[in-house]
Symmetry: C2
């Protein structure tokens, strides 16, 4: 099938980045690998699709006669763009022209009742269903290798309404297909924010956040999506559920939580009632560099254990800080700013050869945020941190959704970039990072000593924190999938062995399934399957994903 | 069966209170009803038990031969004291000598494995099981009217160990039978607190808090029990479950939440890993009186909607404030202090004829708690609140667990006292309180105009708050159960009609079951039953409670 060869890329074309925009980074890679990474290998214009035209015709006819009011498309291009997420594996499939099985149709429901009607219809007719929000899934949730039956994708993008806004009680109800920017636009207009800003914010949906237990960049103060959502309306193949609608009730068991991280296995969340907040009156930045990763960890741990949770936490290890310092052309330069500031104070700076950069933002009323900043500043200093100016924080904030745009170009150049994350107790974070790097440096898929491992802490809890890794190395263009699988298995295997969560904020999908299944007890799996059987007796919802072996 | 006639009373004998200790309150009641309430009617010394000695012998023999290592008692007094909770209905049964069916035995498991073994054994032998923590349940969870099979109570009081304390990551693991004071004693010794202080704190257990979705008096900052617990170990009739053990993971669906509010229907929580906190460095009090209930509500709403959550929130309406002012002998006198303070400033005071008393406590580092207090003070003043001295807060704190001791004496004197609570959106609270009083004043069981309705706000959320009602009236000594049922039905019916939760922090039990079942959708009920069937296929766990019709 002929298609524009950038169909698989992130976001909007005009915002795309190239390694050429970052010559320092390009030079660094060239020095490391002895090659320029300038052999571009774009995706072909002929997509390698697996389509079953008989099934397509069957679905078309069935919907035309039975559900003529449902908006449906069988256009192959539309079907193809709803067949992949944005995991490294997904992009490899597009870039290397691997076969991609298409769904038979994409439907665009407009409201809860339509979703319910089509799900019940699909269940009766043994049609498989895949919910699709923004398509930014990075854990292989859309990766349906074999299809025993016809499959339709529910594209939720038309369900994007703000259904109600209750300014007195700070509650809003949205349809689940609404994307991050539209939520904020609607709320900001009235002086509110949802406070949920995952890296994918610009292109991911409320329903997707719920299905994957998403955590935004400001989760430490506004909460993860499961803290933000008060109640859910869900359509399943056997009927609708509306969960108990209060903050802090004891009205029996609240089954709301079963849908967080359920990845479309139980039904489709159609509406969510959420907590909203006034736009922050004050944003106080605490920006610091530390001589060692451990010093920053101690700072964060001490802060949250005294119940001070910054809204933004971004603490990069020395490798990631160095990487950020190389992104110094065209992009706002974070480390450039720091160096300029620090060079005035050479005596202090010289103790920090390889700075670890920390960005904190503390919101609140003037008196409160100032008091917290004073406390935070003193804890930074106590832990050998060197405080710098605010501008770095503000620049981070304006550029924070930009980085995914660079990955597509790197992949076309033969550079492997993937990210993995977990949550670990405070006292295990530093050692695990060292251990993981050592393990990777023994692995040829990682490029041994030439591989790059970046790390940052971005979500903090009383008992631990999320650590987020970025792996950069030369792509194995002959065996790109095998290379990815090797690295993924090495990182996830080590995470699980260290006692970390299989996922911190991207959920399980098919990519994490083996580790998740291995560490989940038999009775929990049995329980989840019994819930599945009750809500989806014909097993049409995203079969084979998550706990569904 | 002969037994000490105070076996059904609250707590320890030496702390008991009598109406005689509160002459102002006594005078008030006498004026209102034209009688002195001095005809004491204590419980008889001959308890009216229903015991099946054949079943007892069967259980005794079975355990002796099959589970000889399990500690078991068939002493009727021990069985009787594990047959009731502390709801008004429970106490009426003791006081009025209504028949109380006894369990056949009480077992005292020592650890998770013993619980698991006995549950599996009970399931094979069709023996019903009731978990019992501190016995302070107030929603009729132990109210087994008919017993189709033998019943054993699991008294969890011997499972009271601190299993591990991780000071670096602020995590502790306890056995579930441990009581509030023992938790705090163990943690305080190392400088920590759990921060969970329900009214029943002195006599309720960690497992009970989990089974009922408990909220403590400091939940607004430390969280409800479901926020405090990181993970659970559960024994069910078909095996054990250990839930995913992280704060903030996205490791699939976290089934932990199914056990909050499950009231012993799925199994028995045996261990819980919890977040702990350093003992507060500072406690800043904000004590104020308001001319109207609405003013205090506005203060609380504005505070929490700017993300300032005091650790203690206690806002009494004018009736409850007046009631507190009458408890002015022997007990620390709250309103006495206020009046003394305010009398110096007569001009301000005279605008507040019927004060509504608010007690807030703000914890944290000195700078932070001070900043929050400054903000809170200004919001109090903005909403017509009149700030008074700290001593009232400190007195409230030292006497806060004392009030339940008075109820038993009132009941013996022929005074009806019961409490009910819900959670409602901010903008419905004041009107609902007025509406409820009006409804009650039309009800003869409430004593029409002579009935007393006290209210306070004690748990606050972004979108609403819990309102807690105390009903005081003359007891119908001829039909005490019918009187209670009439009042309970009137209050709960009105709560549900107004859109409130059936329970805010006491769970459903048998007492709330009709309203809970009526407002829960069919598919949710089906789902809960399917979970029940998976974990408890023989339906031995607390049958007939909660959703189990």
């Amino acid at each position: 099938m002929k298609i524009n060869n950038d169909w698989w890329k992130w976001g909007s074309a005009e915002k795309r980045k190239s390694l050429k925009n970052y010559p320092l980074f390009g030079d660094h890679l060239q020095k490391l690998w002895g090659k320029a990474f300038d052999e571009m290998q774009p995706a072909p214009e002929q997509a390698n699709i697996i389509a079953d035209e008989q099934r397509v015709a069957f679905i078309q006819k069935l919907f035309a006669s039975e559900l003529p009011q449902i908006k449906i498309s069988t256009d192959p291009a539309i079907r193809l763009t709803r067949s992949l997420g944005k995991s490294y594996h997904d992009l490899v499939k597009a870039l290397f022209n691997l076969p991609i099985p298409l769904p038979e149709a994409v439907i665009f429901p407009g409201n809860h009742d339509e979703v319910l009607r089509v799900l019940q219809f699909a269940s009766l007719n043994n049609i498989m269903v895949l919910p699709f929000g923004g398509g930014t899934n990075v854990v292989g949730s859309f990766d349906i290798a074999e299809k025993a039956h016809a499959l339709i994708v529910f594209d939720m993008s038309e369900m994007k309404s703000l259904l109600s806004l209750d300014e007195k009680n700070h509650v809003a109800t949205f349809q689940s297909g609404i994307m991050g920017p539209e939520i904020e636009k609607q709320l900001n207009a009235k002086g509110y924010t949802l406070g949920h800003f995952p890296q994918s914010f610009e292109f991911s949906s409320l329903g997707g956040w719920i299905a994957t237990r998403s955590a935004g960049q400001e989760s430490s103060s506004y909460g993860r999506i499961e803290d933000i959502v008060i109640s859910l309306k869900v359509a399943t193949p056997v009927g609708a559920i509306t969960t108990s609608g209060y903050e802090g009730d004891a009205e029996g068991i609240n089954i709301k939580s079963l849908f967080f991280g359920s990845e479309g296995l139980f039904g489709i969340v159609t509406e969510a009632k959420v907590r909203i907040h006034p736009l922050p009156e004050n944003k106080k930045w605490v920006i610091a560099v530390y001589p060692a990763f451990e010093n920053g960890l101690d700072t964060l741990r001490e802060l949250v254990q005294m119940d001070i949770f910054p809204s933004v936490v971004r603490f990069s290890d020395e490798n990631e800080s160095f990487f950020l310092s190389m992104l110094s052309h065209q992009e706002p330069s974070l480390m450039g700013d720091i160096k300029a500031f620090v060079s005035k104070q050479v005596l202090k700076w010289k103790n920090i050869e390889k700075p670890n950069l920390m960005i904190l933002r503390i919101d609140g009323k003037e008196e409160e945020s100032l008091a917290k900043k004073v406390i935070a500043d003193s804890i930074v200093r106590k832990n050998k941190g060197f405080l710098t100016g605010d501008s770095i924080g503000k620049k981070w904030e304006t550029s924070r959704f930009g980085l995914p745009y660079l990955r597509d170009d790197l992949m076309e150049r033969g550079i492997f970039v993937d990210t993995m994350e977990t949550v670990l107790p405070w006292d295990k974070l530093a050692d695990f990072k060292k251990h993981l790097l050592k393990q990777l440096q023994g692995c040829s898929a990682f490029g041994l000593e030439k591989g790059i491992l970046l790390a940052h802490i971005s979500h903090v809890y009383t008992s631990g924190a999320s650590i987020y890794f970025t792996v950069i190395t030369a792509q194995d263009r002959k065996q790109p999938v095998e290379q990815w699988k090797t690295i993924k298995a090495l990182v996830t295997g080590n995470i699980v062995e260290a006692g970390g969560a299989v996922s911190h904020h991207h959920s399980i999908g098919r990519d994490h399934q083996p580790w998740y299944l291995a560490k989940t007890d038999a009775l929990t799996k049995k329980l989840l399957l019994s819930i599945k059987k009750t809500l989806d007796p014909e097993r049409i919802m995203n079969p084979g994903n998550l706990f569904d072996e």
